[in-house]
């Protein structure tokens, strides 16, 4: 949806929908806040966890109603995954996994709202010229999540193994404690530790961002005429159905990797 007087080209269309609403908090470019990403994420979190809190507060040990049964199913699902991978006290890791799953799922699910409908609301309802509605298609969000998990991983490595134990692990695994293979060990671990948050965040970002782009390309085809509308609409329907899987799957993968990283941090070799 281009502004009046501006020609609608694929570049302006996609650019428009993928431009963040920014607020500058300081002089350098680092101090730019993506208001849309952050606000949408916060709202989704409040809705999602507010709902869970509401159910958990009134949870009964007796016969649950349908709402509670649904939430219990979700809890059981997450708890089962954690139980299968993480052997230890789940008092923190299980809620962490639940938070990751629910939040990422909701943020991904913003993809289900057609971009132009979302833009209609944000432009005319909120009077925001630019508003990118899917927080996980912003690399800041995925990096924030992955680096937070990374920080927790380092924290638990130090907590469980101690500074000495962790350093020992960095230099003595996977090839053994021979003096000659120590640099190789360290190099291996370094690559592993760098690739973990990178793959963790970029996998989610790439999937959701690519999904958005494909939707937009189809919508642009739909804007070219009747034939384009029919084929574009049909293909977009197919892609939307497939996207349901991607949204849920990416949230699931993100959660599983979080649990795996936590489990690895707690296990010494």
């Amino acid at each position: 949806m281009a502004a009046a007087g501006q020609e609608l080209t694929p570049t302006t269309y996609i650019g428009h929908h993928l431009t963040n609403r920014t607020v500058s908090l300081g002089d350098s470019t680092f101090w730019t806040l993506h208001l849309d990403t952050w606000l949408t994420a916060v709202m989704l979190g409040i809705i999602g966890f507010g709902f869970l809190w509401w159910i958990a507060r009134g949870a009964t040990a007796g016969v649950p109603n349908k709402r509670q049964a649904f939430v219990e199913m979700l809890f059981d699902f997450v708890d089962d995954q954690v139980k299968g991978i993480f052997h230890g006290n789940r008092a923190f890791v299980a809620p962490l996994a639940l938070t990751v799953f629910v939040w990422v799922f909701l943020m991904n699910a913003m993809d289900f709202i057609p971009v132009d409908l979302a833009a209609l609301f944000t432009e005319h309802g909120l009077q925001q010229r630019e508003w990118k509605p899917v927080p996980t298609s912003d690399v800041n969000t995925t990096f924030a999540l992955a680096l937070s998990v990374f920080a927790l991983m380092i924290f638990y490595n130090l907590k469980v193994k101690g500074v000495g134990g962790w350093i020992h692990e960095l230099f003595c695994t996977p090839f053994g404690s021979n003096f000659l293979v120590m640099p190789l060990n360290f190099l291996f671990n370094l690559v592993e530790y760098i690739s973990k948050p990178l793959s963790h965040s970029l996998r989610l970002y790439g999937n959701i961002y690519a999904g958005e782009i494909i939707f937009m390309l189809l919508w642009m085809w739909a804007a070219t005429g009747l034939v384009g509308s029919i084929f574009g609409g049909a293909l977009a329907l197919g892609w939307a159905i497939f996207h349901i899987l991607i949204v849920a799957l990416q949230a699931y993968i993100f959660m599983m990797l979080t649990i795996v990283y936590m489990a690895m941090a707690h296990e010494s070799h």
Binding site: W38, A59, L96, L98, T99, F143, L147
Partner: protein, 156 residues
């Protein structure tokens, strides 16, 4: 990729939500689920115990019934024995009574017979005397021949 303060904001938000979840959402829900699991487990255990006690109770009942049946048979046997004994006693008593009555009747009959004999003898004596008187055509002095008469009477 323009990384900026959004990342920091999202990370802070993430930790706030993790804290919220770990503090207010996860524990009550898991508590409720675990409480229900315990209830169900307790219920199943109680059902198992109930089944066991039912089994033992029915076993006890069977034993009691068998015992009662045995006792009833015993009582019936005793009663039958007693009845046959009583019948036997009654029979014996009746027989004894009959014998006694028979004996009494017999003795009475004997008495009657002897009395009749006596009477007959007296009458026969009188007849004989009368006959003799007629034969002799004379009066027999009853007093004078009393010894003869009593002798005849005795011979009869």
């Amino acid at each position: 990729m323009n990384l900026n303060v959004t990342m920091v904001a999202q990370a802070v938000t993430f930790f706030v939500f993790i804290f919220f979840c770990a503090k207010f959402v996860w524990p009550p829900m898991v508590k409720a689920i675990e409480a229900r699991q315990k209830q169900i487990a307790d219920g199943l255990t109680a059902a198992e115990e109930g089944k066991k006690s039912l089994e033992s109770a029915s076993k006890q009942a069977d034993a009691a019934i068998a015992q009662a049946r045995g006792r009833a048979t015993e009582i019936v046997a005793q009663a039958e024995k007693r009845v046959s004994q009583m019948i036997e006693e009654a029979k014996n008593a009746a027989k004894a009574e009959g014998d006694r009555e028979k004996a009494a009747a017999k003795s009475e009959i004997e008495q009657e017979v002897s009395r009749a004999k006596e009477t007959l003898r007296t009458q026969v004596a009188t007849l004989a005397v009368a006959g003799a008187e007629k034969i002799l055509k004379r009066e027999v002095d009853a007093k004078a021949h009393a010894d003869i008469l009593s002798d005849v009477q005795k011979q009869l």
